[in-house]
């Protein structure tokens, strides 16, 4: 009797080990096959392209992808460069936020040149969240969620850093002076996330949370200051013509239905909603001065992936722009 129970246990253990090994092998095999990636199109940064993260299953899952603007549906998807978790591009520069290559370096940011070849990498102190490159390519910014280990249960905080093109750190935005109504804010629980650069690349907009409130702030690299300009506007995105800022607004405290996209006309000061009625947590990116792009998560074949959607400024209905992709930004001519 005892013997039989033992045999059953050993049988079950073998089954479990087989299930674990099988799952990993299946996953590895599903990625094998020939990569479609090549060298980046020399015209990538010359002509208008949408650069994104390709989520098509297979060996190129997570790789930098690009497609000529206006040819999203019919155009061929170019694939080049490294595998990433977040991608952003502008000027003649791209950045790739990805998993690191050693257990002590869980995440890192790699700077990519116009051929999407790596020129520098720097460690990141948490899970990649946002990335943006300045329009002239001189600076780039990353936001990560700084999370602890199990022993640590402090909740999460964000860390936002601006770098030079070569990966040298310009500043951690938490160390910048933060002004609310002209007065310096000294709260210690400040969090900063979601940079968007102005055309000159020295000024930018960003989200700042302090003492339980969330602000849209204007930032200046020269004076190392952040100035609150509005409440409740997160992950800003400045239009190519510099006259509009799009962002997500918190409309609900629940996690299920928290966000709605809006844009602010900087000339009139009026705020307009986008036609997107779902709650989506992403930093908007301008396709052109009239359209905004964002990634919408979806479940496909038991795996979570995403599509890039586009919505017009006039509040019209959104539509899918690029399936199986996220992290969109536009390169090429500015307007």
């Amino acid at each position: 009797m005892k013997n039989r129970a033992n045999k059953i246990m050993i049988g079950l253990a073998v089954l479990l080990v087989a299930a674990a090994v099988g799952t990993v092998l299946t996953s590895v095999l599903s990625r094998s096959g020939t990569s479609a990636a090549g060298t980046a199109d020399p015209a990538l940064f010359e002509e208008r392209h949408i650069v994104f993260r390709s989520l098509r299953p297979g060996p190129d899952l997570g790789r930098v992808g690009y497609v000529r603007a206006g040819e999203e549906q019919a155009g061929r998807r170019g694939l080049a460069g490294p595998h990433c978790l977040r991608i952003a591009a502008a000027g003649r520069q791209a950045v790739c936020l990805r998993a690191g290559r050693a257990p002590g370096r869980p995440y890192e940011v790699a700077a990519l040149d116009e051929g999407l070849a790596e020129t520098a990498d720097e460690p990141l102190s948490g899970v990649p969240s946002r990335a943006r490159v300045a329009p002239d390519g001189r600076h780039f910014a990353t936001t990560v969620f700084v999370s602890g280990h199990n022993y640590i249960s402090l909740g999460f905080s964000t860390e936002t850093i601006i770098y030079q093109r070569d990966g040298k750190v310009v500043g951690n935005l938490e160390d910048f002076t933060f002004l609310i109504n002209g007065k310096q804010d000294r709260s210690v629980d400040r969090n900063v996330w979601g940079v968007t650069f102005a055309a000159d690349s020295d000024r930018f907009f960003v989200t700042v949370a302090a003492s339980g409130r969330t602000y849209l702030a204007r930032g200046d690299l020269a004076t190392r200051t952040l100035t609150a300009i509005q409440d409740n506007a997160e992950c800003p995105s400045l239009s190519p013509d510099q006259t509009k800022i799009a962002y997500k607004k918190r409309v609900n405290d629940t996690s299920q239905d928290a966000w709605r996209f809006h844009w602010l006309d900087l000339k009139t000061g009026r705020e307009h909603p986008l036609g997107e009625s779902r709650s989506i947590d992403d930093q908007l990116a301008w396709l052109d001065d009239e359209h905004l792009m964002y990634a919408v998560p979806k479940a496909a074949g038991g795996r979570t992936t995403a599509d890039i959607w586009v919505a017009p400024l006039d509040g019209g209905p959104p539509r899918t722009l690029i399936p199986d992709a996220d992290s969109p930004t536009v390169v090429g001519a500015l307007t």
């Binding site: 479990l16 102190s125 640590i152 402090l154």
Partner: protein, 392 residues
Amino acid sequence: MPGTVVVLGFVSLLTDISTEMVTAVLPLFVTMGLGLSPLFFGLLDGFYQAGTAVARIGGGYAADRLGRPKAVAVAGYGLGVLSKVVLLPAAGFAALSGAIGLDRIGKGLRTGPRDALIAEASPPGALGRSFGVHRALDTLGALLGPVAAFYLLAVVPGDFDAVFTVSMCVAGLGVLLLLGKVAERPAAPAARPRARLREAVRLAARRTPMRRMLVAAAAMSALTVSDAFIYLTLLERGAVSAQIFPLLFLATGVVYLTGAVPLGRLADRYGRPRVFMAGHVAIVAAYLVASGADGLPAAGVTLALLGLYYAATDGVLPAAAAVMVPGEWRATAISALQTCVALGRGLAAVVFGALWAAAGPAPALWAFAGGLAVVLLFAAPTLMRGPLGGRE
């Protein structure tokens, strides 16, 4: 070394590898896989901690009342496996919080009964060593888990389902090991008293060493700052860079791992309450060093003291409790102690967080160091009574 203790150590090792694998990838899964903000985690944490406390007391009491600690422990470890099953199709916040909730309830349920099994399998004179062996294996699992998850995600980038499936299988192996290789507590002979709630209340009401231990452990824990705050202090003071920040917990874990058995043996020899108190002296020293840390050497000393604190307290406390109460009450007593410690630490986190925000890290650490030193001075005479410190 009793075989059961080693087996239970390996059960915990497997379970911790499994849990820490998931913990390590969860923030990435939530942001990349689900498109949610991990900031929502923070909101649920307090809720889960309260749930774990209830499950812990319940698990200990059920183990004693039914006289079947193994059965309750199996249920607790089983919930851990189930939580990974729930994670697999998790497509939203509800499923995710459900999975985390199940995992925490399971952890609460199994701890007391498992420690009672360790205590029963071990000769009374070697309890400290036995718990030391168990905690060393347990910590090894906690250190291996994130590394395993890292390499797995490097092989199959973005495939969280593969990580969850492997994690579930590893946890399942732990349950099988427990089922097959650990014997249930022998049925109580008719003459042996059965655990009853009334009895427990009476025991707690008397001035027993157990009650002194409960009060002292709660008071000390309420002045114990979580590691996270100490690591953040080191970061804030520039003693460590953000790049090596992820390695701090690893360093603490390695010290804990290597110190658990030697300190357990010391506790067997010189008195468990004494070593338990000495552990708290180490953490007071850790606060003081951290509050003035200005470079890597000071950071290293802080982490070493922190690791020693865990090695001198985490396994020594149940070892001390095991001999203070009758055998049929062990699971309840141990889980009551651990609940007091958990609640104390929860309170400490809230108070310390507020102090940190108001006065900054160094003054907050001084306040806690001062408070803990006073509690230690008051608790020392009562806790160290008797030839072996508390063993009457």
